[in-house]
Amino acid sequence: MRWTLIIAAATPLMLASPAMAQTDPPAMQMPGPTSPPQTHAPNAAEDEGEPDHAQMDHGPMDHGAVDPDAMDADATDAGAMDHSQMDHSQMDHGAAAEAVGDEPAPAAPSDYAAERFYSAEEMAAARRQLRREHGGAIVSNLMADIAEFQLGDDETRFHWEGEGWIGGDINRFVLKTEGEAGEDDVESAEVQALYSRAIGPYFDLQAGVRYDIEPSPHRAYAVLGFEGVAPYWFETTGALFVSDQGEVSARLEGSYDARLTQRLILQPRAEINVSADDVAERAMGSGLTDVELGLRLRYDITRNVSPYIGVSYETKLGDTADYARAAGEDESDARFVAGVRARF
């Protein structure tokens, strides 16, 4: 049972992994045909630095395949080109008649021209800054996705879910928190501290720790999860948790922004929790433990401040529902919610 659940929880991770499988082919030029170089031969110094010809191997480029370059010539250079000749040199230019040479690129120099005029030390510092300012920026984000009052039959509760991150494009530090407070006390509160790494255009892999401040007894967990955007722009998050007591559980969340107008957005949202273990002291059965479904209608006053109203339905399932019934609690609960989504 436990392993089935682990596999189930890990499936989204595996689905995300093809993005990780990235090929990293060597840099390759596309040399033209074999017309002799027209100008000066590279001098000896340049020869030394010439790229290895193996790097220009046409092997990876399937000549059996149609070259898109040659094909669009059809559109731009009608008639001037023999289409049966699918040579890579047949670039689609009006001037296809001239034969561009196939000299290799020179080796990249190792010196910095500006150091002839300015202090090497100052230039080195300026280069470090240049890198930071051209792709190396550190950015942060702090977002309360849900901060809402939930109006039920018996009491009003406050529910929150928020996330912050700081870092570059690939590596980030992520903090997540969510929880629920009744009128008298905080019923549940968890915090996750995660290292997040971009593993594809749309998905991040996340690993770290989770700590439940409430309920008692406290728990600490190891977390392995993912976060990203699935096709159709479904925001998805999934995580596998292993507690300090060895209990294994998983959570899958998804939401979708249905844009009614530029500013009025209807957001269905779902969260599913599963547990591999029966944890009596936390009133959690094994198997599917609970499902939370929400529908929230928000208005973007700006993209950073969006008040909303909606409904939230939560139901405990299986053994977890039995625990709830035994404790005299409702196993399911529908609530009206009102809150604000905010980016700081």
Partner: protein
Amino acid sequence: MFSRRRLLHGAGALSAGLVAARALPAWAQTHAHGLAPTLPTLRGEEIALNVARMHLNVDGRAGHAIGVNGTAPAPLIRLREGQNVRLTVNNALDEETSIHWHGLILPFQMDGVPGVSFPGIRAGESFTYEFPVRQSGTYWYHSHSGLQEQEGHYGPIVIDPAGHDPIAYDREHVIVLSDFSFLHPHTIFARLKQEPGHFNMQRETILGALSGRDPPLADQMEWAAMRMDPTDISDVTGSTYTFLINGHGPADNWTGLFQPGERVRLRFINAAAMTIFNVRIPGLPFTIVQADGQNVKPVTVDEFQISVAETYDVIVEPREDRAFTLVAEAVDRSGMGRATLAPRAGMSADVPPLRARPRATMRDMGMDMSGMTMAWPGAEQSSGDMAGMDHGNMDMGNMDMGGMDMGGMDMSMRNPENAPQVTMGPGVQTIAPMPVDRMGERGQGLEDVAHRVLVYTDLEALEANPDMRTPTRSLELHLTGNMERFMWSFDGERFSEVTEPIPFRRDERVRVTLVNDSMMAHPIHLHGHFFELLTGPEGKRPRKHTVNVLPGGKVTFDLTADAPGDWAFHCHMLYHMHAGMFRVVTVRPLDETRA
């Protein structure tokens, strides 16, 4: 009877007007009488520029800006071909600054890019640029430090030819187009990273589909399936930008004067951080006479698209005694810059409404095959319609295209085999499977307008190209990005992770092809050089310093690497560059004797 409130309002407007007047250089002040070549401005061999923080008044609201000599945009620098110039830049900011002379041919150590050409100008220090002026035409200058360009740190340069100017005109106006935000540029950048489409307030909606204003939901879902937004035309839009003409907002209505019957030369410079403009003057055709400072054979159009960092000089000949509205419409139609040409101050003409926002097409994904005689089930020939196509996996394996075997060709949107040199990582969202040369195509949103629109293939150099050798090698570079993560790069690598420059041999001639694998346009600028676009008659090809590569398209140019040194090479969309779409180009050897 005057209310006290109205009086106060009037006084406020008056003082705001005075502030604005002080903050703008003479050439940019409204009711400018035009710049006769003899008008005083910053000129001569010794020019002093002081870079400092200031307030810029835009449509009655004051924002933070960086100005030069107390003005934003910065003063016009007017030079003459053949002179020498010493420009001493004093940095009165509390941060580093720099000035890059955009389009000027000069020694690399004077090019003004911190970390490439020099160390930058530290706070409180000054730096003297000194170089001979070897060219003529319309250019500009701007900061190459941080994101200062967004804050107003840019100005025009006009260089008069040493000899006879082949362009005849009675009067001229410099028209500096730009975008201004009351948000700090670092905030804009953070928003782009935090939330894709943050500034796009023109998305397709469900109500839009139901009312028929937007395409049907099924069509919208096709795009959603690909995690692509066809309305993502500009990253930063009129939702935060006010579009400026000579530092004036649309309500400020900068006005340039003319006498009916005059030939008026308008020197357009797109100094915007992120905005491509579509420019027109309803009722007045443009005769394009110069592009990027290089004279071209006159070509008459009704509208032209000017990408970021490009310049166009045009001649207009207003004959009627009336006002004309100059419209610089943002490419995504989220707003416009507006100015007036009029015989007298205080006149205005109708301002046309914003036209419908363009929508990206299959062509913008580098997937349009309408140029070929083929069809597949469900596909429509119109490039804008994607109904019925399965984009997830467009397997064309068994398709016979008039004898051409398509076996092995993969039309998926992110196939590394379609760009083997690209490092595939999180920063690469798409690889255009079939990028086409789009130099003969109108820019986004102008495909269907009913009047004449300039395209690159209309351009033909007036003077013979200086170097007509056939290139000895070719070089392909891919413009890559991920709109979801706001990552931008060349060949999949942001500058921060690149270890080597792009090397050229001195004086070699190279055929460079830029392939745009992304769905955004990229104005690519090479410092220190002009290159010849591969269009037009041989020897008369248009020479440019910045070329706009349309989404899913490609551009080819021939470059003579005749300027030894290290040079910046980058996308001129400021936040694309800041995100990593930047490279250093080296030209070696540095010493002539070693060549």
